[in-house]
């Protein structure tokens, strides 16, 4: 499988691109990891299907937009999206739940320029949103997991990778969040950090601001 048959276009950031890179790494799938700075974006924008990134491009030039659509597609190709329709749906439910929290952070906390207001929003996010979210993730895991480790069934899925990436990204942006996740996700984080393919990728990936 040559890397010529799959191209992934995104900024030289983790943000909305990293989940797909992690899935491709877990799958051991080679691809062209095209990264650009903001200064180069005007060159790439007209070439992207909706003028947005990330974009996944197949060998025949067809493009897919939308970060979670891309992630789900590569996860399905790699067998990381559940073994039947109901498992895939449970995985989607976990993903959407994590997505809701990420969106809350990015719409309420991240863009706030006023320092006082930002601190207020952050406190609300930590005390209310994250607390509820950890509870919700725990409930979904209890309902869908077969092994106390992975979110759905008893094997790694892209839902696990999304939660892993989101927690890591949040810890980097907001170190105060550290204690809020407790011990319940430790077996998962350890399993992902210990996965040979993922470890190789994590050790080699470029360090970026976010």
């Amino acid at each position: 499988m040559s890397s010529g048959d799959l191209k992934f276009y995104y900024f030289d950031l983790q943000a909305r691109g990293e989940l797909t890179r992690l899935i491709l790494a877990a799958a051991g799938r080679s691809y062209e990891d095209i990264r650009f700075g903001f200064d180069k974006w005007p060159e790439y924008k007209p070439k992207m299907i909706l003028g947005q990134a990330p974009v996944l491009e197949l060998a025949d030039g067809t493009q897919l937009p939308q970060s979670l659509t891309i992630a789900r597609y590569v996860a399905r190709e790699a067998g990381l999206a559940g073994s039947d329709n109901l498992e895939s749906a449970k995985i989607d439910a976990v993903v959407d739940t994590q997505k809701d929290v990420n969106e809350t952070y990015f719409s309420k906390v991240f863009p706030e320029k006023d320092e006082t207001k930002k601190a207020e929003e952050l406190k609300k996010f930590l005390d209310e949103t994250v607390t509820k979210h950890v509870e919700n993730l725990g409930k979904l895991k209890k309902a869908y997991s077969k092994d106390e480790k992975y979110f759905v069934g008893d094997k790694l899925s892209w839902a696990d990778l999304f939660v892993f990436q989101s927690i890591q990204a949040l810890l980097q942006a907001v170190p105060e969040v550290k204690g809020k996740f407790g011990e319940q996700f430790k077996p998962l984080m350890d399993a992902i950090n210990g996965n040979e393919n993922i470890k190789k990728y994590l050790d080699a990936r470029p360090q970026t601001a976010f």
Partner: protein
């Protein structure tokens, strides 16, 4: 033979796409609807304290898109292979992006602010997303009127129901988007959908 129970408010909202999927598929399901004052008593029964929830063979699924995608796949309305399903998902995500800015305009209590937000949404924000949706429909639709692959998928059903909400506020919002208008017309005339639309409860949202 699985049994399906869909729980939501007595409204279209985020459950209607799933009801449309059942209708197109000709599949039976238990259509549980709560009025606003009934909901608090049932909130704790739901995995995340939210609705819609689909219960299938004893498993409870939250999250409206996860539910709709599951049902669409069960009934062959999701795209015929993995890549087609991804194109459908891309349209769905873009429809979702379009709808995000609409919700705050409905819940704003201050009348003057509400008018301002609504004007901005319909004047500036929504047209950009509608343009993107037309781009996807023309690229993925194989020259037909449906979003992906020349056949009805849940992306068409989702656009149909969310656009109804927009049209309810701003009747002309699709006037500059003839492809999207044709898409909705095509959905409406599917026999099972026409039948369902004629008979479904009329609700506020």
């Amino acid at each position: 033979m699985p049994s399906y129970k869909l729980t939501y408010f007595n409204g279209r909202g985020r459950a209607e796409v799933s009801r449309l999927i059942f209708a197109v598929a000709g599949e039976k399901f238990e259509d549980v609807r709560y009025e606003m004052d009934q909901w608090p008593a049932h909130k704790a029964e739901m995995p995340l304290g939210q609705i819609p929830v689909l219960e299938v063979d004893g498993v409870k699924l939250p999250q409206s898109a996860a539910i709709a995608r599951f049902l669409a796949k069960q009934f062959h309305l999701a795209g015929k292979d993995n890549f087609e399903q991804a194109k459908v998902d891309a349209v769905v995500d873009t429809i979702d992006d379009s709808f995000k800015g609409f919700v705050p305009t409905r819940f704003e209590k201050d009348e003057a602010k509400k008018e301002e937000l609504t004007k901005k949404y319909f004047g500036e924000e929504l047209p950009k997303h509608l343009q993107n949706l037309e781009t996807l429909g023309k690229l993925y639709g194989n020259g037909g009127h449906f979003f992906v692959g020349n056949q009805l998928t849940w992306a068409d059903l989702l656009f149909y129901t969310f656009a109804q909400a927009w049209i309810g506020v701003e009747a002309d919002c699709l006037n500059n988007f003839s492809w999207l208008k044709k898409n909705r017309a095509e959905v409406e005339k599917q026999p099972k959908i026409a039948e369902y639309l004629k008979n479904r409860p009329q609700t506020q949202f």
